[in-house]
Structure formats: C-alpha cells, structure tokens
C-alpha cells in the first residue's frame, strides 16, 4: 500500500510541476500577482509529494519489502541497516528518484527563502525549474519506475553490489546529485533572466548562493568518490581520468568558472552574456554526466548495466533543455551585453583569465571524454583516451591558472599595476623555490611536474594567506587591531582565502602522490618482508574471518621503519555469497608525510603464500585535507550576509521592497 501511495505521489508531483511550469510563467507575462504566487505554493507542494514518494521507497528498502521489484533486485534482508537505507539510491531507479527529490527541494528552497527576489524573476525561475522536473518525472515514470511490483514476491533480495556497501559510497551519490542538480538553479535563473531580458548586479547576487552551494556539494561529492576509489578499489590511485570521473569534473570546472564570472557581473556589471552562457553550460554538463553514467555508451571503470532506451531518453532531455536554453541565449543574448569593457591587468582581468582557463579545461576534458564516441560514430577506429591526454592538457593549463589565483586577489578592481602586486608577494616566490627544493630533497628524485606542482602549491598558499594578512594589517597594526579586522572581514573574503589555500594544499598532495607513489607487487610467504618507501612490510600470514554478510581472508602486515614498529595493517579480501562477488578492502595507515597502503590478493601455493600489493603514497592526506579546507571556504562564504537569500539589497535595479533582512 505504501508503495502505491509513493507511486501516486510521484504522479501528482508530475501534475504539480506542470502547474508550476505554466501558471507562474503566464502570471509573470501578464503581471498577475496571484498567478505568480502559485509558483511558490506549487514548488512547496511538489517537494512534499516527492518526499512522500522517496520516503515510500526508502520504507520498502528498510523493511525489505521484496514484493517491490527494485528492492528485490537491489537489497537483501541480511544487509546492514546503513546499506538498506543507502540502497534506496544505490540503483538506477532510486537514484533518479533522488535526483528529482533534490530538484524539487531546491525549487522549494527558492520558494521558501527567495522572498527578496523580484516576483517576476522568481516566478519564471520556478517555472523553468518545474519544466526540468517534468522531463525527469516522465523519465522515471515511463522508463525507470522504482515502484514496480513483483508478483509473486521474492523470498529474499539479490543484494546490493558489495563494492557499493561502503560508507564513503553511501553518501557519494547524494552529494554528487546535490551538486549536479544545484546547478539547475543557476540554469533556471539564467533562463528566467533571458526571458525577462535583464541581467544586473542583483541577479548575480541571487544566483551566486545557489551556485556556491552546488559547487560546495559537488566538491564533497567528487572527493568522496575519489576517496572511495582510493581505499575500496585497491589500486592505490585516486583519479583515473575515467569517463564517469570526467563526467563529474566537467560541471565542477564550469561551475567554478561561473562562481567567478558572477562576481564580475555583480561588481562591474560586465560579462553578463558570458555568465548566462556558463550557467547553461554548467547544468548542461551535469546532464551530460548523468547521461554518460546512465547510458553506458562509454567503457568505464564505474559503468552500470543499462537499458539503451533510457540513454536515448536522457539524451533527448539534454538536447531539449540545453538546446532550448542556447536558442534563447542566441535570441535574447545580444540585448544583454552593455558596457563590460575593462583593462587586462585588474581584478576582473584576472577573473576573466581564470574563466578562460577553466572553460578551456572543461572543453578539453569534454573532447577527451567524447572523442572515442565521435570517432566511432564517424566510422573510425575504436580508441580510448587515456590519462596521458588529460595530463598533457590539464597540467600545463593549471600553471597559469594557479599563478592567476595567487596574484589576482591582490589586484584592485578596474585598473591595476602588476609590479606592486608582485612586490607584495615576492616571498611567495621564495616559498615556491623552497617547496620545490624540499620536495627534491625528500623524494631524492627530480620529477619536474611534481616539483612544479609543489612550487605552485606553496606560492598559492603563501600568496593567499599574505593577501589575508595584508587585509587585516597583520604585523603592521597591533595584534588586537588585526584580530578586530579579521572578525570584521566579510565572510566571502574568508571563504575565498580558504578555498584558494585549500586548493593549494590539495595540489601539493596530488603532485607528490602522483609522481612519487611507490608500488611493489609480489608473492609473500608468512615471514617475508618487503621494503616500500623506506618502510618494511612484513607479512605475518592470513586468516579467515566472518562479517555480517560476507566471509573474508584477512592478511596481517607488521610495518616497521628503522627497526621500530609503526603499525599493523590488516587488508581483507571479502566474498559476498548473496551477490557472488568479491571486494578488496585495502588497509591504509595515514601519516602526515604519506599513506602506507596494503592489499591482499589470491592465495598461491600451499605454504600460505599470497599475492600482495604494497604502496607508499606520499602526501595523500594533504589532498583530502585541502578539499576539506575548500569545502569549509565554500560553506563560510555561503553564510555571508550579502549572499543570504533573504538579505536586502544595497542597489536593486527594479525597486524591490526592503523585505526583512535576515
């Protein structure tokens, strides 16, 4: 019964979103307030209905209701509760339901908190948001219904893919989707602005918090996925330039560019058409990501079993949504651009450079990801595009990007001179040289890209912190004065400092672990020792252990350095009888300077020998720490008064009533 209620709620949500897509749009056109207000009511009602639908499916998973096909196919009664809950979105149908849930929640958030957004813009943005929803509701109801019944009910379920039974991956899809779908808000605002024919500083300020929230979630989502791949797949790496990984990186790059270009719109009333373009592109790439993952057109490490009809449906949605938006941009865009002329050496010049590089990166990743498809469609050879391509493009482009990040924030708006700014951070250059020298000395190996990466990372962190220190007059004023200034700094400034410094820390981790990873693969008998990265890994043998829904072989490694015991690592190879699959559970000991990483493979021979893979991965923890700092930056920036959705505006182009400033 509950399942039927969920199904019914989803159909009602579709009907509600049709109302939300039409009535407010017509109301905004004819200036009828009551019609425009329908948008907010419908958005809230729609969100409520999808919550009911999602809750019904989750209930079926939690109670292991195997009369539901989706539960029977993807769950099992013996599964731990966390994975029963996560199982709701650990399958195609459920994950699409999560997608529309998040879409509806974003719409409801605009309806509930967007009281300062001009009514016509709000009505139109909600209507656009609703039409995206209509497309996805139809997709779910016609091709991927999670509420389908199974008669007769199954005795027990097929279980969830054991690779996905992991806390990191349980929360990876929700965050990724919060990011992907979050860009729908920027998209809806962009299309609404095109329909209105007006983009101004106020628009940029309304659109920025949504973009920032989406960016922050997407950053968390990508990092969780990468972290999961690092410890669960047991290959010792964290990024493989796999199509599915690229699919999440492309919207991140475009979204990062959008965040920065929106600042230029807000401060200088320039780059309007470009910002609208980026808002459309960021969401288009999110949709493309969904298509690539859900259609299985590319061979991926993380591919899913797929039904071609679904891929075609998502592709059609992508073409309609994005094609329509671009057509609208081509038609209305030329009317937007006015003014918007500035000097190359200035804050906005730096931001423009950042935008050009980020979009070039996104374009290159797109080219590399789709190239095999294009070539095959053109009747050419079957190829795959590997990491050498992406590294050859992204690494050289990252150099000017990081340089611009270090120097740009020091430049004033409008017109600036490069030399005084450089003069203020000359010691960032010293830090860069010191970091490169330290890396060379510690690794004993002059990998040029890694040394360059360390140098840029150090320069970026030092220049970013120096910019903050300069703003709060650290050392030139009394400590109390500096502290007072720090407290008085706008949150978005602190957010920027953290986000930039965080990226610097992460780049140090990426460079070092990419270049100086040490790997040893061998057969070890109990008592055998192998030296990796200066650490001695002694294999003490393996034993059989039992988990809640799996059996495992657990190896024991005693790791020591210079005769002193450091840690005992216990990697496992688990077998899940229900799903008939095995997973590798790497054992990882994280230290400040690097991760000790051990994987146990197949048994060899009779004397308890096993194939083992041992790694020393330098500075990996820096990468995760850097991402956390970036996320903290995004979150703090989001709490800025200026971007608070309900905050009043200093300079609103249409006279907006000064509603309660939160």
């Amino acid at each position: 019964m509950i399942i039927e209620i969920g199904h019914f709620a989803l159909v009602l949500a579709l009907a509600m979103s049709v109302v939300q897509g039409t009535v407010p749009m017509l109301g905004a056109r004819s200036g009828r307030d009551a019609w425009m207000r329908v948008g907010s009511t419908a958005a809230l009602a729609q969100a409520l209905l999808v919550i009911v639908a999602f809750g019904a499916l989750m209930h079926a998973f939690v109670t292991s209701d195997f009369s539901v096909l989706n539960v029977a196919a993807n769950s099992h009664s013996a599964k731990p509760m966390l994975y029963k809950i996560a199982g709701t979105w650990g399958n195609h149908e459920g994950s699409m339901l999560l997608w529309v849930l998040i879409l509806a929640l974003f719409g409801a958030a605009l309806a509930a908190f967007g009281s300062s957004v001009p009514p016509t813009l709000k009505a139109r943005a909600l209507a656009v948001q609703a039409w995206i929803g209509v497309g996805f509701y139809l997709f779910i109801l016609f091709t991927s219904n999670p509420f389908e019944r199974l008669a007769p009910p199954a005795i027990d379920g097929n279980g969830l893919n054991p690779l996905l039974q992991d806390p990191g991956l349980a929360f990876h899809p929700p965050f990724l989707y919060l990011g992907y779908v979050g860009f729908s808000m920027a998209f809806s605002f962009a299309v609404a602005a095109l329909i209105e024919g007006r983009v101004d500083a106020g628009w940029a300020r309304w659109v920025r918090p949504w973009t920032l929230a989406a960016w922050t979630f997407l950053t968390i989502g990508i990092a969780l996925g990468s972290w999961w791949a690092y410890y669960e797949l047991g290959w010792g790496g964290w990024w493989f330039w796999d199509p599915v990984e690229n699919a999440s990186l492309m919207p991140w790059l475009a979204g990062t560019a959008l965040l920065h270009s929106a600042i230029v719109v807000e401060k200088r009333d320039a780059l309007k058409g470009w910002t609208i373009f980026l808002a459309i592109v960021a969401f288009a790439l999110s949709l493309l990501g969904t298509f690539l993952v859900r259609s299985g057109v590319l061979t991926s490490v993380h591919a899913f079993a797929t039904d071609p009809a679904r891929g075609v449906f998502i592709l059609a949605l992508l073409v309609i949504i994005v094609g329509g938006a671009f057509a609208l941009l081509a038609w209305r865009g030329p009317a937007l651009e006015r003014g918007g002329v500035f000097k190359p050496v200035s804050r906005e010049g730096g931001l423009l450079l950042n935008n050009l590089i980020l979009t070039t990166m996104a374009g290159s990743v797109l080219l590399g990801t789709l190239y095999p498809l294009i070539l095959e469609a053109a009747g050419g050879a079957k190829v795959s595009v590997g990491p050498p391509f992406f590294n050859a493009i992204i690494v050289p482009l990252a150099v000017p990007l990081i340089a611009a990040m270090a120097i740009g924030p020091l430049l004033p708006w409008k017109r600036a001179a490069l030399m005084p700014a450089l003069g203020r951070v000359w010691w960032a250059g010293v830090a860069a040289l010191a970091a490169a020298a330290a890396g060379w000395w510690a690794a004993g190996d002059a990998a040029p890209f890694a040394l360059l990466g360390l140098a840029l990372a150090a320069a970026l962190v030092v220049a970013t912190v120096a910019e903050l220190a300069w703003r709060i007059r650290l050392f030139s004023a009394s400590p109390g004065e500096s502290l007072r200034r720090l407290a008085g700094l706008p949150r978005h400034a602190i957010g920027m400092t953290l986000a930039h410094a965080g990226l610097g820390i992460a780049i140090a981790g990426m460079s070092a672990s990419g270049a100086w990873q040490q790997e040893r693969i061998q057969v070890q008998a109990p008592g055998d020792a192998v030296i990796v990265g200066g650490y001695t890994f002694q294999f003490d043998g393996a034993e059989a252990v039992r988990g809640p829904n799996y059996q495992a072989v657990r190896g024991t490694f005693t790791v020591s350095r210079d005769g002193r015991a450091v840690v005992t690592l216990r990697p496992e190879k688990r077998s899940y009888p229900v799903e008939g699959q095995q997973t590798t559970e790497a054992a990882i000991e994280t230290t400040f300077w690097g991760d000790l990483y051990a994987v146990i493979g197949d048994a060899r021979g009779e004397a308890g020998q096993y194939v083992t893979r041992l790694y020393f991965n330098p500075l990996v923890a820096w990468m995760w720490a850097g991402v956390l700092v970036m996320v903290a930056g995004g979150t703090i920036s989001l709490t800025d008064r200026r971007y608070r959705v309900g905050a009043s505006l200093r300079r609103a182009s249409p006279p907006v009533p000064e509603t309660a400033a939160a």
Binding site: N161, V301, A305, V341, I393, T583, V599
Partner: protein, 159 residues
C-alpha cells in the same frame, strides 16, 4: 586603447589559449589514444610492439594459470581466435573464466603484456567493445548476451 580594441585583446588571449590547447592535444595524441583490437584483428594484422593497445573479448575457459611469481596468464578470445595475455598483480575482484574482459598494454613477442585489466563486475554489464568483438567474430548468440535485468555494478580495474 579603444573599448573595441580592449575586447579584441581578450578575444586574442582566448583564441591563443585555445590554439595552445589544440597544439597540446595534437602533440599528446600519439600516446593518449589507445586503439582497441579484437583477438582476430591482432592475429590478422600484428601490431607494432611499441604501441599501447586495448584488447577485449572473453576469458577463455580453462586458460587461467597463476604462477608463484605473481604473474597471471590467460587467453582472451572472441570465440574464433585467442591471444595469450600475461599480467602481474591482483586481478579485478570479478575476473572470471568465460566472462568479458578488456586488457590494456602492449604486444611483446606474440604475447599481450597487460598492465591494466578491466573485467565486468556486474553480471549484466558487458563493456561495449567486448560485445562488439564477439559480434564481429560472427559468434554472437543470445546466450552470450544476458537479458538486461537491472542491477548496478562497476567494472573493476586492476593495474
């Protein structure tokens, strides 16, 4: 500088960046593009040994041998021809005989030395190249292609 000229400056910088990117793409393409071959294609036209390749097909039944020095040897077949593959290390969790596999590496003296092995992880998932390789050999039967019953899963890679 007139406004028009300033805008032109940005256009020139942008175009320069794109041109640089394109040049990088071209210079990278030789190493970056990995061609996919079926066992029959490899036997029909032996490839240049220095070239990185991906081969795909099914792991031949009874061909997997594990040696004591962490090497694994197996044969990849498209049901007509087969190629011997050798690989060092831990295979993907769901590497099995009779299942689809994609290996990446180089040919050396008639043996494919793989440094990366992708095997399907999901009973219902077959890498598109493998399905095409088996189809191309003319041996495609419905028995090979399992009905699409929806479960999620990944392809595991070992490298």
């Amino acid at each position: 500088m007139k406004p028009k000229h300033r805008r032109l400056t940005f256009v020139v910088i942008g175009a320069g960046l794109l041109a640089a990117a394109a040049a990088l793409i071209l210079s990278a393409s030789r190493d970056a593009l990995v061609f996919f071959k079926t066992p029959s294609e490899i036997i029909a036209e032996p490839a240049d040994d220095s070239r990185r390749l991906r081969i795909g097909g099914l792991v031949e039944e009874g061909s997997v041998e594990r040696s004591d020095d962490a090497h694994v040897r197996f044969r990849v077949t498209d049901t007509v021809n087969a190629v011997a593959v050798t690989y060092i290390g831990v295979l993907p969790d769901l590497f099995r005989e009779g299942q689809g596999v994609v290996a990446e590496g180089q040919m050396r003296d008639g043996v494919f030395v793989a440094d990366q092995v992708l095997a399907k992880h999901d009973e219902n998932y077959m890498p598109p190249e493998v399905a095409d390789a088996v189809k191309a050999s003319g041996q495609w039967r419905d028995a090979t292609q399992k009905t699409t019953q929806e479960t999620t899963g990944g392809v595991g890679v070992a490298r």
